[in-house]
Amino acid sequence: MEQLRWLPSHPDLSSAIKAARGQTDPERRLCDAIALTGYRRDFIATEKLDRLIADCPTARAGSELPALMHLQPARLAVLSSHTVDHLVPGMRVAGLGRRLALDITVTPYGLYRAVLAERDAELAAFAPDFILLALDSHEMAFDLAIDASEAEVARAVQERVADLARLWRAARSLYGAQVIQQTFLPAAPPLFGSLERVVPASPSALAERLNDALRDAARSENVLLFDLDLHGRHLLSGQALADPVRWHQAKQLVSPIAAPVHGDLVARLLAAALGLSRKCLVMDLDNTLWGGVVGDDGVEGIRLGQGDALGEAFLAIQGYVALLGRRGVVLAICSKNDPRIAEAAFSDHPEMVLHRQDIACFMANWDDKATNLRRIAQDLSLGLDSLVFLDDNPAERDIVRRELPVVAVPELPEDVADYPVCLSEAGYFEAATFTRDDAGRAQSYRAKAAHHEALAQTTDMEGYLRGLSMTLVASEIRPVDLPRAAQLINKSNQFNLTTRRYTETELEEMITDPGTIAMCFRLHDKFADHGLISVVIARPDPEWEEQALLIDTWLMSCRVLGRQVEAAAVEALAAAAARRGIRWLIGEYRPTPRNALVADHYGKLGFEPQHPPAEGGNAVRFWRHAIGDTPIPAHVIKLKGLQ
């Protein structure tokens, strides 16, 4: 079965793996392995790639290798009711492709209840960041007659979900991990045909009802779903995820053949939870968003619109992209075109689904695409590793992959009709949460690009910022803010002083601690409401004086960089701290490969450099702000809330 079809095929993956095996330096070998995860692989190649990195220190504590390779370490414990060992290499290898260094442990199958009934020393020592609860319908067998009533089924489903919720809470309290629940596959093939899900106690109906109830419970319990059921239907395009022979032979719910795609599904979910999903879709125009070449054929001549099969297929890809834009994926154009003609297609073609205002950054010129992708990233204040580049031209794809390996460039099917499914399958924009702020993000990035443009034309920075009429609303993080705040905490990499990640649950605990000041900030200006853009958490720390608060977390969305938001935020924080009788704020900077941007954040805000309180040894640095004495830098932002 063809898997991972958005990845290009390697001309000779086997030999490439063999060559990489010859690398004696583990660092070089890991590097080679990461590059090879960019190619399509079957389960045998996946296991080979996994062996390649077996002795590379990845997520193990103390290893500096992941940071060097720009990988984020994460530990995953799989608790399952069936055999999953054969799926672990797939997860680890896919992890590298999604910029994760995964350390994975598997609890012997069927023992998941035991390790959740009481603290298991071994699992606790592993300290999982994530616990994946992979159960199957055989395990959750319903003791129901096939003619059970709707009410009986509802009651049974409720009991099961309550039982699972107990397990989730146990996983959280015993191991402090973010819980991921796998959805259920039906215990048996349909008994009734099309009537199947009308009969409340049929196997398919039971799985469906249980999964439905799980979705609601997972939302309220902050549990992530690994929707094996959904993927089984959509992602494997009808190919068997499960093979009854493998179930009977080895209690494998997922066939080994499906290990590469299964592993990628898990890895992309973890990556999403850690803020590593891609953020921006950059698109070519000619023969990608419409048929033909607008520069040659003219706006009237391009193939787009109803009544023409190819024209409708281009409408469909535009429609899909527009939906991605509405859910918060930033859209950009990168096309070799005359900018006036390219823009004219957007403004003048009556059938365009995408409009000019849907596009945050429009780069149409005759420069090479790698250069333009760099410009787009810069204009949008996004890392190149946030970009996905869609282009029908294999040569352009190839050049961009070579020039900018961190940009994701999906291999596209020959027929544009298959583009939407391919883009969906590739999972670049996997999300762990979805909030109203996400939906408004496109507008905010558009404003960001406009801001960038206006900046380029202005020399009077101060006057320009004043003209934006910015208002920053500061508030303590309330329960309603938790999803967005946690999302920002887990995905901000550049403007992030300490890169400490907290799950919603951990954050919830922090905001109830009376000694801690956990603030969030919302910014709006005359162009846009940027929503919740910054989180600052200050807490007492035994290493520092009693009347000092250590700024444990300070992060901000790069969308609002260069707006003096930091100065207004420190003013709000100092005011809140002063009200509690706090005398000092201690700023901390923990360098990562991605946060050099804020190395002198506290210095710029007027904090005094400090020596670390204890022997640090590493490059962590501290600064001090004496409340009332250290001046707050001037800013032009109107500050609201917490006054």
Partner: protein, 82 residues
Amino acid sequence: MTETQIYAELTDVFRDVLGNDAIVLRPDTTAADVDGWDSHAHVTLVVATEMRFGIRFRTAELEGLHNVGDFVRLIEQKRSAA
């Protein structure tokens, strides 16, 4: 496909799956003789063999795969029936 060809292909499968290019297969080779041929690898070997030869072992046949000779006999049977 001759028996020699089947052995050559099957050796390739075993070397691929177990990551050991030194593996030499004989009819009486069993899991005990090959490093890494454990119960997990056994399932992988079965699936990889199915993929390589374009065949499918029936559940009833899985129990009978004790040594390499068993693999080869079944592959021969299935390929000649196809």
